[in-house]
Symmetry: C2
Subunit: 298 residues, 2 copies
């Protein structure tokens, strides 16, 4: 796949997601307006939409209709958006800048940030239940379950808990990996599997390969994030750069050093590619996306 073709696809999915999220979120004038404004502020105009991109790319594997993938991807992205709002709270990571804008509790207030995060999570599950996203209702219940397990105390929320507990202490590489498998990996895995679930059913071996791909990309994403955080400036990143090291958080860079962290990202990219081999052309987009995740500069 050429870089230009991939870039065009990415821009298309990103624009499409912006439209879908804007349509699926309650309008800003609907009561309670302040809550809905805060939810829209948190979820719109933001980010690279990596999880939706993964859902759409995985949907290509199972020839999923894009109007279904769009809603499933929105559900995953709303979980991601809620987690950012809550993670940025003063009692959590205490961050004031996100995606180049003031964080929700800065722009609104803490109570609105807590409630907006809560309601974004709820909306994610509402979307997965409300419209027909799979051929069988049973398969759709499976999507709800997948998303819930990914976001749960033994998934994303648990990862954030481990992250907070580890602040100020030096983690070993296995501990750091354990944290990120939960904090970011679980939802990235869900994005891939839920995107694929919008199409024809996969056999167990293919699903296992997708899972392996998702695991590799999820970890690679975090490793690259840590490298970028160590190297980039706040302006390029759109969020406070170098914050993790100042807060005494272990990162792949602090544990491995820059060079070995970059080598690990490359290794994970190789593993992601290898996982896709059996899928042939249907996995081309996922392959290009693994490259994007590892080679991105922002």
């Amino acid at each position: 796949m050429s870089d230009a073709a991939f870039d065009a696809w990415m821009g298309e999915v990103q624009a499409r997601m912006e439209g879908a999220l804007s349509r699926l979120l309650p309008a800003a004038h609907v009561a309670p307006a302040r809550l809905h404004e805060a939810m829209r502020y948190a979820a719109l105009e933001g980010g690279k939409r990596v999880r939706p991109l993964l859902a759409f790319a995985a949907g290509e594997v199972t020839r999923a209709p894009s109007e279904k993938v769009e809603i499933a991807a929105a559900a995953v992205e709303l979980i991601h958006a809620y987690s950012l709002v809550h993670d940025d709270l003063p009692c959590m990571d205490d961050d004031v800048l996100r995606r180049g804008k003031p964080t929700v509790h800065v722009e609104y207030d803490e109570a609105s940030a807590v409630l907006a995060g809560d309601a974004l999570q709820t909306l994610a599950f509402q979307l997965l239940a409300e419209q027909r996203l799979a051929d069988e209702p049973r398969a759709q219940l499976e999507m709800v379950k997948l998303l819930a397990i990914a976001a749960a105390s033994r998934g994303m929320a648990g990862g954030q808990s481990i992250d907070l507990a580890a602040t100020g202490s030096t983690l070993t590489l296995p501990e750091l990996e354990f944290m990120h498998i939960h904090k970011t990996g679980a939802l990235i895995r869900a994005a891939v599997l839920i995107g694929a679930a919008c199409g024809s059913a996969l056999g167990a071996p293919e699903r296992a390969q997708l899972d392996r791909y998702a695991k590799a990309v999820g970890l690679a994403f975090q490793v690259v994030d840590d490298v970028l955080d160590a190297e980039a400036s706040t302006a390029t990143l759109g969020k406070t750069a170098g914050k993790d090291s100042r807060q005494g958080k272990s990162t792949y860079v602090s544990v491995l050093g820059i060079a070995r962290a970059k080598a690990l990202a490359e290794e994970l990219r190789g593993d992601a590619h290898a996982a896709l081999e059996s899928l042939g052309e249907r996995g081309a987009r996922l392959m290009a996306l693994a490259d994007f995740v590892v080679l991105r500069k922002f």
Copy 2:
């Protein structure tokens, strides 16, 4: 139904729910242990379990198997528990006492309280998706949707947002009612409808009557809460008494006065009874529960 028979049933459902929640929540020793401890602290050993009682009583209308109602009721109760944890946060109602114990952010810390609330909400949806609760997967998806809509920004979370915005200002009776229909009514309605959904399908007229019952009981519950808050002591209530009036919040008592608030509760009890007429004996438990909600002293 005799008072003794009703009390025995209530004790049985409460004990059963304690067991179910304890079993369905992650064990306290499972990592991340602090998060799981906080979740269990928030959800166990607490409250009258009004929503589960409503779910079980509504399940009697449709002859729902109790092992299904138990899980559905646990899902509703986890949403309720999450909302209490977040509502008690310093940036929200800032309360230190709940069900006779320190609130979660006091016993643990604010970050744990935010995360525990988040993960309790997630677990609620996981429970509704994970096990077979209805004859048809489609009906079960409907349960997920019902719970999500009840908890959402146009439901419970929206009610809390309106409540916060209204603090310090005097509400009219319609405004107060609008707030409570969202803040407590929506989830009480969901408890009734989801409990009933675990059994045989209801016709549209019966469902409408259940809905009317749930609406009346939901409002009555809040009216009685306000009366008790105005009259009872902190020790009897297990939470800080008289707090709403000190925080400048409008209540049914501040808007109507004690006597008219009590008369309103009686009127709503009558409406709840009337809604059950067409259900005959199958509605007996719901009827007794409406009496309990209005006549309780704590």
